[in-house]
Subunit: 402 residues, 4 copies
């Protein structure tokens, strides 16, 4: 039955997350600044644990709240107003994705040894897939290789823009293991502790975004030897696991973007309400009002699309098309909403005196990471063509509940 | 609980409407053309009645299916692929709106005398609010007047762009009754049979859209005397009733637009799949593929926004902001989607050989009728400012379920 | 030397064309309507001849004013406010293009027998290149064939959307003559009198646009025999000649579009100035004002781009990239400007009571004919890549005067 | 006569500026970084002087090249590829504007004492108009005051976002001198040496842009006493002088933006040419190709609009409308072009490994400084309405040469 009611238990958690953000995260923001270090997070994490908000996305067995995707969506939205909030709750990329991978595909030993300390916030991790020389959008081009060596594997190659790598305790590394297999079965995923000889962080690549713990690093793997049990899932499962991880990961990002967009619209509306020019409040100028309205519409549509995709994920329904549409739409909505909010603040918005300046720089990455918008648009179109061939209509590929 | 499942009973009705449209309406289209007359509809209406699809929006007491707004939404979407379909089911503007007004505000006698034959499809009606000389967007400027005359009222004024007026049996006419009242209490609604002396259809205004029964007419009211019981609701209720009517009416339009947009996207995808240029199917050209993807995304967002607003209407929750966002977003999505579909067909799309040519002309009106996008954007922005003042956040005005 | 001054002699002609349009064409418009027939034009053409404005684009030897491309640009812009104006001056597509082709590539006899009566306005012509079954955007796919037959040629095939064909005295027909040649040398151009056995106008395809003399027709060529001297230029020159024709033709269209866009902006501004809503003139509402401003900016840019391309054409400089950029930009600017002008008129703009309704329908074709925007964008990008390879910069492909 | 030819002498200078940028500025860029200090510029300035490129915008009497506005436009475009280039040639905001003000309105003594060392590059200046508490877009709201005090004046107030203030030798300060005058005669301009007691740089406001010498500062004026001859122009001339300064200044910015946009498009095209994905160069993907084409079109239009406005300025023709259109269009074109260039580079574009990352942050300011786009759009619309009233057409306000 079509229903948009949020269950009371979930609303209660969401409201507590909002209160945590309002009372603890936002006041901490000015003192933390950029870059954000692991140390900066310690006090916030203590409060979060004490407040019973730690690990919203994990089962109780790992000290989590056991929320389903729609619940996680609401929590992540509440977190999105500040990059610090998800970090404080331990549900931020890339660790959130790592935890999902190990929960779903890890062995008992991998879970005990790596998932547990990650869930406890004792260590950090990273996911090493992207390479510089080949399009990250076309994973069949991966060059990093793992060859069998006795019982184990030896990894060689270069990885690039690996978020969180600096200071991570271990990495999930995607490498080709069978170059002759069909493209999506060529690669496998390895769990590589970062103290393994041959793993080197070459540099932390400077970007325009807020610097979160671990940065975005360039990595070299040179004769990096791992044992047989370093494999996550089976050999050849690499892409399938990465895809699954990205489902959760992209929704997580989209949810946080909505929270950030909401904050930007709140700031824009408050400014338009309070600032005067040409004899009236800015909000009384139709051009400004139109911008606020457009932001509200995009935000509303974005939120519904995320909830819908999370619901499909939760019900075990096919959701790739919905997640792709979310990735494209929400990333662009965020960009538009932050841009308008900045503009309504004029020079003040361009300065670091408001959070919009950082939001603008951070938002620009949303159209690139976890697959650039171009690649998702291509995938969406392919699904439309397939539905058209199969059903004589594209309905099933446009989110219609059939 | 957040749920997008369509109940089985509703899905069954929707699927029967789809089958009716596919098997009866689309095949009838070429033989009917433009203009569409009342007579053209007779055979389709017979089939619709026989199929048990008549009056989806009305209670059983009026021979209807008794669907709630979310159900009506799904039926109207299925109808939207052809202007003929809603006409065939008797759930098309302006009559659908008239029926809602009489159901909610009519006296028993008004319902018996006017709603019943309307529900039976025996007569047509119109809603006479807009005036040429003043902005329809600003109803406080209305000039048509009704003055008391003994027991009854005498109406004078001019109305413009009154859909369905030519051939209508009666009109609901909005006129000022108390010029000194506060703006939104100045006007009242009268039920005026069109054979009342003083009611004249001056002309049927030519437009670029498909000509549906009754056209869009210019009306003169000159000493048009009606009895006391011609009043619908109380004196001064005019705006409030019109607003209520527009809630249903705008959603009805939006639902049909989604159906039309779906048809346009289906045609575009089929064309892109089958047509070759420069050595590949059009769909293999990234620019074309991006257009398909953008249409799918807009359609998906539009559908969710309509379902959400219908759900709020159904639950009796405040829904004006949601309906305004739907009106703006879906009208523009329709325009974009039809435009892209036409372009992918090239000259063929510009010709009357596909339904896209008429869809393009019809779609242009969507940004104008039932309030131009500009007026809705202003209303949306005002609600944002109010929420900001009240809550310190605009969340409640951006569709967030709180 | 960079100079935007219009020489006095040219300004004088342009001002006389403007006066002709204002005093004769616009007053004739309401009496002519749609479709426009050859007969409708007779009185206007007489006035144009008497006023010394006939054939602005032709040399004096053909009774013309002998204007260079920048001069023609200014005249066509003045004509653009009404489809009737260029027809009245005999400088409208497709005849204008035919005249250029025969002037540049015709034999003396072809010029005497076909160009002269065309220049006199005694007959009409058409240009038969497009085919339905293959993408008009990819001319290497043409299927219509001409095979040698004794001294002459026999033409077979189907043509589609051939403007002006109904009632034309002759056609320029593009057919494949050497399927084995390299793609751009495969086709040739033939001059085919329409009373040649085997030439059939199957139907005049209905479109949403204003119907000008001759329509847009579907043509069948069936064993259509023409003599050896029916060839225009040499065998294999077809594409080269068509490209040359399109240079003039696209600029001609773009110039007229600017005139039409100027009229739309004039109407929009007048409406915004005179109409009130919410206590102020529409122009005092910032959203409306922004729309006017954006239209002005697009119009300004469009005019400069056309003048620049015309100047390059006039000087014999390479101008294909500039013409392609003009085709894309001006067609879209026209669409935007007319759309905004319609919207500012509300329902009135959607009605046939203003010329904007027809302008909206006509403007939609601009993104399709003479090459859809997609094909021009691809060509522009290819030129950028070539310039990048050659110069290490794209400057020469972005209109920079080097 | 309409002519786009660049005179040989001018082309020669432009080509030398290009060579200077290519051979000296770009190689120096990596070693300079952000912030840029006065000291960083010394070696580049020496080369520029030696190359005879110093002060392109000034007359020979001040050691300049004596170029007219179209010449300056070409030089500034060549400089725009790097913020360092205009600084190296001494033709960068805010000093370029200050020089124009003193040239046009300064007394002989002011010129000798302040313009000469500025022209020599010995000192820097700033222009203190904007205030935080009131909309910079509405200069009639200025609060800073100057009151007569004996022979001189005493200035009080706060200024905000004053570019170049930190380290400037003097400021041109706009303050109210006659609050009762009609709005545009209320303010006057004072030349204030920054060692005047009462002038304080409170802080250098952090922004997202490249930090150029002097930053963007917050200033306090507290009992700041200046002599009578500190007045620039007459009392009440403040706005008129500021407007004149902005004509040159806005064109200067627009020219540099075009140079920067050209660089971004060059980088995007090279990347699209060389990078492969999904079996082809990126440029072979239509979506990418369309983006390149759109950038080329915007760049082309932008360049023509700037040349046209510079030509009007040069000829002493009314040019405010043209400059406003340039300001809006070129700022937005720059944003779009840089955004697309960044996107085509993916994560690399987001990193500081290419100049696009800084270009993206810098470009965002273009829609704000020297008047936000909103204010220019309002002014453009007002001019359209005025032309409509005066001429019955908006032609004269859309750049048409009448």
């Amino acid at each position: 039955m079509i229903d948009f009611t949020i269950p009371a238990a979930l609303r209660e958690i969401r409201d507590r997350v909002r209160a945590f953000v309002r009372d603890h995260v936002l006041p901490a923001e000015p003192g933390i600044g950029d870059p954000v270090t692991d140390r900066d997070l310690v006090p916030l994490r203590e409060v979060a644990r004490a407040a019973g908000l730690w690990n919203p996305h994990l089962p109780a067995a790992y000290g989590g709240l056991g929320l389903e995707p729609t619940g996680v969506a609401l929590v992540q939205e509440a977190c999105g107003v500040s990059a610090l909030a998800s970090l404080a709750l331990n549900c931020m990329a890339p660790d959130e994705g790592t935890m999902h991978v190990l929960l779903d595909h890890g062995t008992d030993e991998q879970r005990e040894r790596y998932l547990r300390p990650l869930a406890d916030g004792a260590i950090r991790s990273c996911f090493a897939m992207t390479e510089k020389e080949v399009s990250g959008s076309d994973p069949t081009l991966l060059r990093a290789m793992a060859r069998r060596d006795g019982d184990g594997w030896v990894l060689d190659g270069e990885k690039w823009f690996i978020s969180g790598a600096d200071g991570a305790a271990f990495a999930l590394v995607m490498t080709v293991t069978d170059p002759g297999a069909e493209p999506h079965r060529r690669a496998s995923l390895f769990l590589v502790p970062t103290d393994t000889p041959g793993w080197t962080v070459i540099r932390d690549i400077p970007t325009m975004g807020t610097h979160l713990p671990g940065g975005h690093c360039e990595i070299r793997l040179e004769g990096c030897r791992v044992p047989a049990d370093a494999l996550v899932g089976a050999a050849g499962d690499g892409f399938a696991i990465a895809q699954g991880r990205l489902g959760h990961g992209r929704l997580g990002h989209a949810m946080r973007w909505i929270g950030l967009a909401q904050r930007a619209l709140d700031l824009a509306t408050a400014r338009a309400r309070d600032r005067e020019a040409f004899g009236r409040a800015l909000a009384g100028h139709q051009g400004v009002a139109f911008g606020l309205a457009d932001s509200a519409i995009q935000l509303h549509a974005a939120r519904l699309m995320v909830l819908h995709a999370a619901w499909k994920l939760e019900r075990g329904l096919e959701h790739r098309q919905e997640v792709a549409m979310v990735k494209v739409f929400v990333a662009e909505a965020l960009g538009d909403i932050v841009d308008r909010a900045l503009q309504v603040h004029g020079a003040l918005g361009y300065s670091a005196d408001t959070p919009l300046e950082a939001a603008y720089r951070d938002a620009r990455a949303a159209r690139i990471y976890d697959g650039p918008s171009e690649v998702h648009r291509m995938a969406i179109a392919r699904a439309l063509v397939k539905a058209s061939e199969r059903d004589g209509s594209t309905r099933a590929a446009t989110g219609s509940v059939e």
